[in-house]
Amino acid sequence: MNLGKFFAVRGFSVAVAILGCLALDYAAQTYLQDYIVRLVFLAGIYITLAVSLNLINGITGQFSIGHAAFYMVGAYTGGTLTKFFYDASPLGAVAWLIAMILAGAALAGVAGLLVGLPSLRLRGDYLAIVTLGFGEIIRIIVINQPELGGSSGLGFAPKVQGLWLVWLLAVICVAVCRNLLKTSHGLAFLAVREDEVAAQAMGINLTKTKVTAFVIGAAFAGAAGALLAMNEGYINPDLFKMDVSFLILTMVVLGGAGSITGSVLAALTLFAIPELPRLLKIDVSLAYLIGLTAGAIGFVSLLRHHQQRYHGPKAKGRMITVATVVGVPLAGLGLGWLLHTFTYLSDQTYELNNLRYVILAVTLIVVMLLRPEGVMGHHEFSWKWVQKVLTGRKPVAEESIS
C-alpha cells in the first residue's frame, strides 16, 4: 500500500498531529504529577496496542490472542540494542529513541510474518492457540537467555520518555487503520473477514492480505514495546505474560471488534488496570476504577436503550437514557468511595489488588452477555452519530463500515 499517499494528501493533518502531541507532552511535563504523566504515557501505548490488534482480529477476522508477543519483541529489541550499542552510537537520545522504535517495529514485523504465514493453513481456534503458544515460546526463550537478563529482567540506560512520540504513534496507528479502510486494500481485509472463500473468488490474494494485516499489527505493537522499554529503562518477561494479551484482546472485543473508535475507548477505560497496585495509595483510584466500570456498563445500557427506543415511547426512553448515563457512573463513584474508605480503615489493600480483576472479569462477562458485539459494534465515531444519540432522531441513512 502507498503510505506516502496518505500523508501527502494530509500534510496539514500530520502537522497538526505532531504539534498536538508536542503540546500534550509539554503540558503534561509542566502541569501534571509524575504518576499521571505515566498514566498518560500508558494510555497512548495501550491505544496503539488495542488498535493494532483490532486490525488483525476485528478488521481482518484472524483470531490472534498472543499480541503481547509482538509487544515483547519490540521491547526487548529496544532494550538489548540500547544496552549494547547506545554508547557506541553517534545518535542523541531522542534520535536513538526513534531508531529504536523503528528497529522494534521491524523485528516485531518479522515476528508477525512468522505468525502470519501459518494463518494461511489454520483457521479460527487453531490459529488462536498457535498465536498464544508463540507468545509463550518467546517468553520462555527470553527467560532462558542470560544475555537478555533472564527472568530477573534487563536494565539499561538511558531512559528516554518521549511522551509525544507515544501519542504520535497512537495517532499514526489510528490514522493508518482508518485510512486503510478507505482503500481497496482495506476493503480486501474486510472481505477476508466476512468470507474467505468468496473473497478469494473475487480475486483477493488471501496470502498477501492476511500476512499484511499480521505484519502491520505486529509492527505497531513492536513500536509500542520499544517505547515502553525506553521509558522504563528496565523490562522483564513478566510484563508480557498471557494476561497482557488477554487485556489487549479484552479491549478490542469490549470496544467492538472492527471498530477503531471502540478500541480507543476501551483502551482509555482499561489501560490503568495493570498499574493499579502502584496507584492504590492514591485516594481516588478505586473510586475511579469502579466509576469507570459502572460507566462502561452504563454506556452499554445506553446503547441498548438506543436500540430499543424505536419500539417504545420516545420521551420515556430518553429519560431512562439520561438517567443511566448520569446516574450509573455517579453511583459507581459513590460506591467506590465508600469501599475505599471502608478498606482504608480495615487496611485490606492487598485484597483490593485482586478485587480489581474481579471487577474487570464481571464487567467483561456482563458486557458480553448484554452486547456480544462489543460496545461500539462495527460502528465508528461520527458527528452524525452523536447527533443521533442526543436527539433520538432516526438516521437518514446508516453510515457504518460493514
Binding site: N57, F63, P118, R121, L122, R123, G124, D125, Y126, A128, I129, V130, L132, G133, F134, E136, I137, I140, I141, I143, N144, D195, E196, V197, A198, M242, F246, L249, T250, V253, A257, E351, N354, L355, Y357, V358, L360, A361, V362, L364, I365, M368, L369, P372, E373
Partner: protein, 393 residues
C-alpha cells in the same frame, strides 16, 4: 550415537534413567489426558474453547484439600492450616479432635467429592455464562470464557487460602511407599566392588577396628551404593502413582462405555456431529450440553484430586492456568473434538515434557508443548487423529 549427540549438543545422555522418565511422563500425561478430555468434549459439542476448564481443575484441587481437612488428618498439618489467615474464618476446633488414619476409603470419598463439586461448578458456569452466548459469535463466547476464567482465578484468590501446605492432602495418602523394578542391573564389576566393600566393612566391625577406619569404609560403601543405583536401569515410583494410572484407566474405560453404549452418550455424539439436526431429531440438546460440561468437569476434578494427593503438587488460586493451557494444547494436538485424540495428545505431551527434561533442557519444558503443536499443525492442520474439513461455501 551418544558420542554424536555429545558433539552436537554437548550433553551426555544418561540412558539408564530413560525408562524412569518415560514412566514419569506417562503419569503426568495421564493427568493431562483427563483434563484434555473435558476440553475436547465441550469443543466437540459446542465448538467453544472452555477457557475456564483450568479453573474448574483448580477448584477440584481445593475441594480435595478442603475435604481432607474436614475429614481431619494429621494434627500437625491442621495446626499449620489454622495458622494461615484464611483458615481462621473457617476455624472450628472440633476438627482437630477427629484425626482419622489414612485409609483408601477416605480417598474414594475425596475423589467423589471433587468430581461432584466440579460437575456442579461446570454445569453452573455453562448455565449462566455460556448458554446465553450460544447463538452469538464464537469470539464473543470465547471472550466470555476468558472472563469466567479470570473471575474464578481472582475471586478464588480473595476467598481461598493462597498457598496451603501441600502436605495436608498428602497426609491422606496411604500409598506412599516406593515400588522399584530393576530392568537392567548395574555392571558386574561395580556390584562386586559394592559387595566387597560391604564384607570389608563387616570384617572391620567384627575385628574391632578404630572408628576412623570404619567411617572410611562406610563412606566408601555408601559411595558405591550410589554408583550401583545410578548405573542400574530401574523404575521407581510410589504406589500412589500406580493407583493414579489405574484410576485414570478405569475412568477412561467408563467414559468410553458411557459415550459409546448408553443413550446419553449417543445423544452426545449426535449433538457433536450436527448440533441443529440433533435438536430437530428430538434430542434435548440443552441437557446434552449440561451433561457434557458435567462429565468433563468431573474428570478434571478427579485429575486435580489425584495430582494433589499422590504427587503433592502445591496449589494456589492461579495454578489451574498452566495445566489447563497444556491440556488444551494436548486436545488440539490429538485433534480437538476427538476423544481418543485427547488421550493420545495428553500422553504425548507428558512424554515430550519428561523427554525434554531428560535431554537436559528442563528450562524449556513449558515451551515444548507449543513447539510440537506447531510442527503437527503444519503437517496435519486437524491434529493427529482429527480430520480437517474443507470449508464449503
Amino acid at each position: 550415537m551418544d558420542a554424536l549427540f555429545y558433539t552436537l549438543v554437548g550433553i551426555d545422555l544418561n540412558w539408564s534413567s530413560l525408562p524412569q522418565q518415560l514412566v514419569n511422563g506417562l503419569v503426568v500425561g495421564s493427568i493431562y489426558a483427563l483434563i484434555a478430555l473435558g476440553y475436547t468434549m465441550v469443543y466437540g459439542v459446542l465448538r467453544l474453547i472452555n477457557f475456564a476448564h483450568g479453573e474448574v481443575f483448580m477448584l477440584g484441587a481445593y475441594t480435595a484439600l478442603l475435604s481432607s481437612w474436614v475429614m481431619g488428618f494429621s494434627p500437625d498439618a491442621i495446626r499449620k492450616f489454622y495458622e494461615s489467615e484464611a483458615a481462621k474464618k473457617l476455624a472450628d476446633p472440633s476438627y482437630v479432635e477427629r484425626s482419622i488414619p489414612a485409609d483408601p476409603f477416605n480417598l474414594v470419598i475425596m475423589i467423589l467429592l471433587a468430581m461432584a463439586v466440579c460437575a456442579v461448578i461446570g454445569a453452573v458456569i455453562e448455565f449462566f455464562a455460556y448458554r446465553p452466548m450460544r447463538n452469538q459469535s464464537r469470539t464473543a463466547a470465547l471472550i466470555t470464557a476468558i472472563g469466567v476464567s479470570l473471575l474464578l482465578q481472582y475471586a478464588g484468590s480473595l476467598f481461598l487460602p493462597a498457598s496451603p501446605p501441600p502436605s495436608v492432602a498428602m497426609e491422606v495418602n496411604p500409598y506412599q511407599t516406593n515400588v522399584s523394578v530393576t530392568l537392567v542391573p548395574a555392571p558386574k564389576e561395580i556390584r562386586d566392588k559394592f559387595d566387597d566393600s560391604v564384607s570389608a566393612l563387616e570384617a572391620a566391625k567384627e575385628s574391632g577396628a578404630d572408628a576412623e577406619t570404619i567411617g572410611d569404609l562406610e563412606r566408601k560403601k555408601n559411595d558405591l551404593e550410589g554408583q550401583v543405583a545410578a548405573t542400574a536401569t530401574a523404575i521407581t515410583m510410589t504406589q500412589g502413582k500406580i493407583v493414579m494410572l489405574l484410576t485414570v484407566l478405569v475412568l477412561m474405560a467408563a467414559l468410553r462405555f458411557l459415550v459409546l453404549k448408553t443413550p446419553a452418550g449417543r445423544s452426545m455424539r449426535a449433538a457433536s456431529h450436527d448440533f441443529d439436526s440433533a435438536s430437530l431429531m428430538g434430542i434435548n440438546v440443552n441437557r446434552v450440553v449440561t451433561f457434557t460440561f458435567m462429565l468433563g468437569s468431573a474428570l478434571a476434578g478427579a485429575g486435580a484430586m489425584m495430582l494433589v494427593t499422590f504427587e503433592g503438587t502445591s496449589m494456589q488460586p492461579f495454578f489451574g492456568m498452566a495445566p489447563g493451557v497444556k491440556a488444551f494444547v494436548a486436545a488440539v494436538l490429538g485433534g480437538i473434538g476427538n476423544i481418543p485424540g485427547a488421550v493420545l495428545g495428553g500422553i504425548l505431551m507428558g512424554l515430550a515434557e519428561t523427554l525434554v527434561t531428560w535431554l537436559g533442557f528442563s528450562n524449556y519444558k513449558d515451551a515444548v508443548a507449543f513447539v510440537i503443536l506447531f510442527i503437527v499443525l503444519m503437517f496435519r492442520p486437524g491434529g493427529l487423529l482429527g480430520s480437517s474439513k474443507v470449508e464449503k461455501v
